[in-house]
């Protein structure tokens, strides 16, 4: 069933659930332990797998001696490339919904080692502890080849990728002559940037519990951002039909992109379950969380030219990113630099360099989180050189259309973000000169940056079931990796049918539910929310029709538009005393349940004519210890324009969490590679630093008003990623203001400040 898009209408009426700071509907389950995660589903006879990881970065396995492990009572099997069952040969069987161009990694496929920590064997035993012990008794001999994990060296052979991944757009063709304009510019800056590798490191480690049923069917509990993606992968790789694999993953303890692709523990658990005809769980350890996708290391150059009045005359942004030998992982890094500011001469260049690592993987605001800070630090450097306030420079070159395409934005309240953010922060009190706001040994600095992210929508389907008692169940096979999807969807459904929140429930994380795209890219509210709205609109129309058809009823002959749905009633707008409860309408029609399903389809036509994006302005205050180089981010104001905010409470949490990550990106996070071993070394939470409470001070989130009838029927753009974009730049710019040091290599650890 295809539902026509409707105009955003019923959402703003009094009593609306949309826009209310509703507490998480699953909050109680989460804090009481009632919410079950992939590694928490127990079943009789469950066996446990432990993965053995490669000690070398490239080469071949010569031999795997499993005898000692197999000799232990309770060890069921050791799977390696030597004894694995037959697996498909064609790449397309291994592809998932987020796979870029190339040949996906195949665990246990052959003796080849492609990257350090590659999974090379799976021990399955009666207990986790036994499997782990047995794994240590396995002796592997290798023949090592030279490896390349140094991006600077690898970039000598960088190449320009094509449209190698869904959602990726190669940079637009150059406009004007940016190199010449730069050379002739009255004022210019030319900076080099590095972005370190970051691993997603959600709190919950990747895990899959595969329950084996006697008839050979599987129930899979997987840490995933898309149950259907997991289902397709398992079916394709193990040659199973869709009706013999059901994925049930109601809760995910964070993912940030790491669950967009099926990870190798899923393969391992399914392989073992199918082969041993037993239920099997495989959970990664924290160090093994550093064995797959990551935010790629990136080298960038941003050069800007301007006239003395601040008019931008040249923008050059070049980036080289790592990818693996087997796939072309691409993300939009540089394109934003042609979109943010009006400028006639723009050259954007994006390349990939192959390294012996696992394929990188989308991580919160992939591309923008890396590219925008480079641009926004360069803008700050230009402002400093011009002697201009950085906010003024941004306003001077503000654009209402996307200069890359010439299309107008469907909405862009960035000016309002600038104004409200600056006001809240007190930006006008900033003294212009660096090192001018000292407090004892602490150098105080204020910086700002702009953030941007796409507003996307995909197709999705939702089903709904309304009972005569007025309880409504809506469902779609999306995930909730933490943003509050359960809550937002419940609100949308409750809103449209005028039901109290506690009469509505939303189901997700089940491959039996109607189709939803992967949860990522901040498009779940937009895509799935629109489907929920569509199916609830249909139920609403049906109810209205049923009520209208009751000859002796008070709503006879009225249409849906003539009614308000509130508190479980259908109420005539003309006279609120003409009303019927949902129960009355259904009873009068001899109905116990009303069911429907609807697909939402983006407004392709109007969306194609516009640029669609969320925007933000970030203001940060830092205190830098002059002697020790330590940095405290004492204040952040993030003003976000993201269309209609479905739930200001969960949305605020999203942005706050993203700002915290932005602090980490700016100052702490880095997976450090030992180049001689080709291996990430700081692979635990003791040494891979993310912000702790003591690093986080005031974070103030503002959502500015923004109307948008084009992005989707809800007018809501999604806030999952916008919160992180630009934060590292605001902090780096504040550090410049505090110290006079321009730092372009992230993370800005204290040694970098001391040595600059």
């Amino acid at each position: 069933m295809i539902a026509k898009p409707t105009i955003p209408d019923p959402l703003d009426r009094p009593g609306s659930q949309i826009g209310k700071p509703v507490s998480r509907v699953d909050g109680r389950l989460k804090v009481t332990g009632g919410a079950k995660y992939a590694a928490e589903f127990n079943t009789p006879g469950l066996a446990h797998g432990y993965i053995v990881s490669s000690a070398i970065a490239r080469g071949r396995i010569l031999a795997v001696d499993t005898a000692k492990a197999l000799a232990l009572p309770g060890v069921l099997q050791v799977f390696t490339h030597e004894n694995r069952p037959s697996l498909p040969w064609f790449d397309r069987k291994w592809k998932d919904d987020d796979a870029p161009k190339g040949s996906p990694f195949r665990p246990l496929y052959d003796a080849t080692i492609h990257h350090a920590l590659q999974p090379i064997a799976l021990v399955v035993a009666e207990s986790f502890e036994l499997a782990r012990y047995a794994a240590r008794l396995i002796h592997v001999t290798y023949e090592a080849d030279d490896h390349q994990t140094d991006l600077r060296e690898a970039s000598a052979h960088a190449f320009t990728p094509g449209k190698d991944k869904g959602g990726f757009q190669p940079p637009p063709k150059p406009r004007g002559d940016a190199d010449r304009a730069l050379a002739e510019a009255e004022v210019s800056v030319d900076l080099q940037f590095t972005q370190a590798v970051e691993h997603h490191n959600p709190m919950e480690m990747h895990a899959s519990t595969v329950v084996y049923h006697n008839d050979g069917t599987l129930t899979v509990h997987d840490k995933t951002q898309g149950p259907l993606n997991t289902q397709t992968y398992v079916c394709n790789v193990f040659d199973l039909s869709k009706d013999s694999v059901r994925v049930i993953s109601p809760f995910v303890g964070g993912a940030f992109g790491s669950g967009l692709r099926p990870q190798h523990q899923l393969f391992m658990a399914a392989l073992a379950a199918i082969t041993l005809k037993r239920s099997v769980r495989v959970e990664l350890t924290r160090p093994q969380m550093f064995s797959f996708g990551h935010r790629p290391e990136t080298l960038q150059r941003v050069a800007l030219g301007a006239r003395k009045d601040g008019t931008l005359t040249a923008v050059i942004h070049e980036a080289v990113q790592e990818t693996s030998q087997n796939e072309n992982y691409v993300e939009v890094v540089v394109n934003w630099s042609g979109q943010q500011y009006t400028c006639d001469n723009v050259r954007l260049d994006y390349k990939l360099a192959r390294m012996d690592t696992h394929t990188p993987l989308d991580q919160r605001a992939p591309g923008a989180a890396t590219g925008i800070p480079a641009l926004e630090i360069a803008i700050d450097a230009l402002a400093a050189k011009l002697g201009m306030d950085p906010l003024e420079l941004r306003l001077k070159n503000y654009t209402e259309v996307d200069p890359n395409t010439g299309k107008p934005f469907s909405s862009k309240e960035l000016r309002t973000c600038f104004r409200q953010g600056a006001e809240r922060f007190g930006w006008h009190k900033r003294s212009h000169a660096p090192r001018s706001m000292r407090e004892g040994r602490q150098l105080v600095g204020w910086g700002m940056a702009t953030g941007v992210w796409d507003a996307m929508q995909g197709q999705a389907v939702a089903s709904a079931r309304l009972g005569i008692d007025g309880t409504l169940t809506v469902g779609s096979a999306t995930a909730d990796i933490g943003p509050g999807t359960y809550t937002a969807m419940t609100q949308i459904a409750a809103d449209i049918l005028g039901l109290p929140i506690d009469q509505v429930s939303f189901q997700l994380g089940d491959s039996n539910l109607p189709m939803a795209p992967l949860q990522g890219g901040s498009w779940t509210v937009s895509s799935v929310g629109s489907a929920v709205k569509a199916v609830c609109d249909r139920l609403r129309d049906k109810l209205a029709g049923l009520a209208a058809g009751l000859n002796d009823g008070p709503l006879k002959g009225l249409r849906a538009d003539d009614l308000v749905f509130a508190d479980g009633f259908l109420i005539a707008k003309a006279d609120p005393s003409w009303r019927m409860s949902i129960t009355e309408v259904m009873r009068a029609n001899d109905l116990l349940v009303l069911e429907d399903e609807a697909r939402s389809i983006p407004y392709y036509k109007s969306q194609m004519q516009h640029a669609l994006g969320t925007h933000s302005a970030i203001f940060a205050e830092v205190r830098v210890d002059e002697d020790l180089g330590t940095v405290q981010v004492t204040r952040v104001v993030s003003a976000v324009a993201a269309g209609r905010i479905i739930n200001p409470k969960t949305a605020r949490s999203q942005v706050m969490g993203a700002v915290v990550w932005g602090i980490g990106m700016a100052l702490e996070e880095e997976s450090m590679t030992d180049q001689s071993l080709g291996r990430f070394m700081n692979h635990d939470f003791g040494e891979y630093h993310i912000p702790v409470n003591a690093d986080v001070h005031d974070i103030d989130v503002i959502f500015v008003e923004e109307q948008d009838d084009i992005v989707n029927p809800l007018g809501a753009k999604g806030v999952g990623e916008i919160g992180i974009v630009g934060v590292p730049a605001a902090i780096a710019n504040a550090i410049y203001h505090a110290t006079g040091k321009r730092l372009c290599d992230l993370p800005i650890t204290l040694d970098r400040i001391l040595e600059a």
Binding site: L117, D627, L628, L667, M681, E687
Partner: protein, 336 residues
Amino acid sequence: MRAFSYHRPDSVDAALRGVAGQSGTTTEAAVKFVAGGTNLLDLMKADVMRPERLVDISRLGLDRIEETADGGLRLGALARNADTAHDERVQARYPMLSKAILAGASAQLRNMATNGGNLLQRTRCYYFYDTGTPCNKREPGTGCGALTGVNRIHAILGASDRCIAVHPSDMCVALAALEAVVRVSGPRGERTIPFADFHRLPGDTPHIDSNLAADELITAIDLPAEGFADHSTYLKVRDRASYAFALVSVAAALEMDGQTVRTARLALGGVAHKPWRDPAAEAELAGRPASLESFRKAARVLLRDARGQSHNAFKIGLAERAIVRALAEAAGVEHP
């Protein structure tokens, strides 16, 4: 985790019988004491340490903090780090120690961690923890991965070409400055080990961390009467504001005579295989005015043999600034 047996005696004698007959140092022993378990169990799970038998010493009654005859304090080996740091006597008489303990780990860990265990916690070198890499400390003769690898957190003083790991403790840095004494029981009776002699430099035997024998138990740590309560501090420099090991830390303690330093104690953490003290640097301070200039001089003396690796040379300059800052704070000198 390898299979091991477990035993929980309720007297010191019984505990000692549990480890009796082992030779060599405690680091290499096959039968090990377990106290809070916050370090040992992690290392066992990572397959870095493989004891065959654990003797749980949590019920030996060694968890008290008591006055000593010479006016000092005796910290039980099994007293928790948190209880020690929050003990009123420790706070009043040894504030530097309290501060150092509270600068370490997290509240949860400090609630479990014991004073004896803190002394014997092992390095946080990445290579030591990763059994897929070479490490002379973990497996003698395999080489030092850090030497040619990632060594931002490693030693600048007292390292050898076999090992550049650092001792990670904060508490021990303050104990070194206080010249605490480690009380030990063993088959040969009781003995005391001056703090400076407790830990070792890596030399050719980096797999041995301390001079405690394999059949000995730490029963207490004695603090001398002088606690430098008026003029001391602990400064820890790290990559985030909490819950990170020291890149450099300084325990600074002074006896002042007006504006003149009478005696000084200076210990550095995060820079060597043991808390680092240097009599020459302390002598440099004695009898001199408490000024930034003389603090800087002393720092330079202390760091005169410091040597950086590919990623950690910054620690030398950082240590100098941290020493000056800590001494200034201890002396109450205004830092302009």
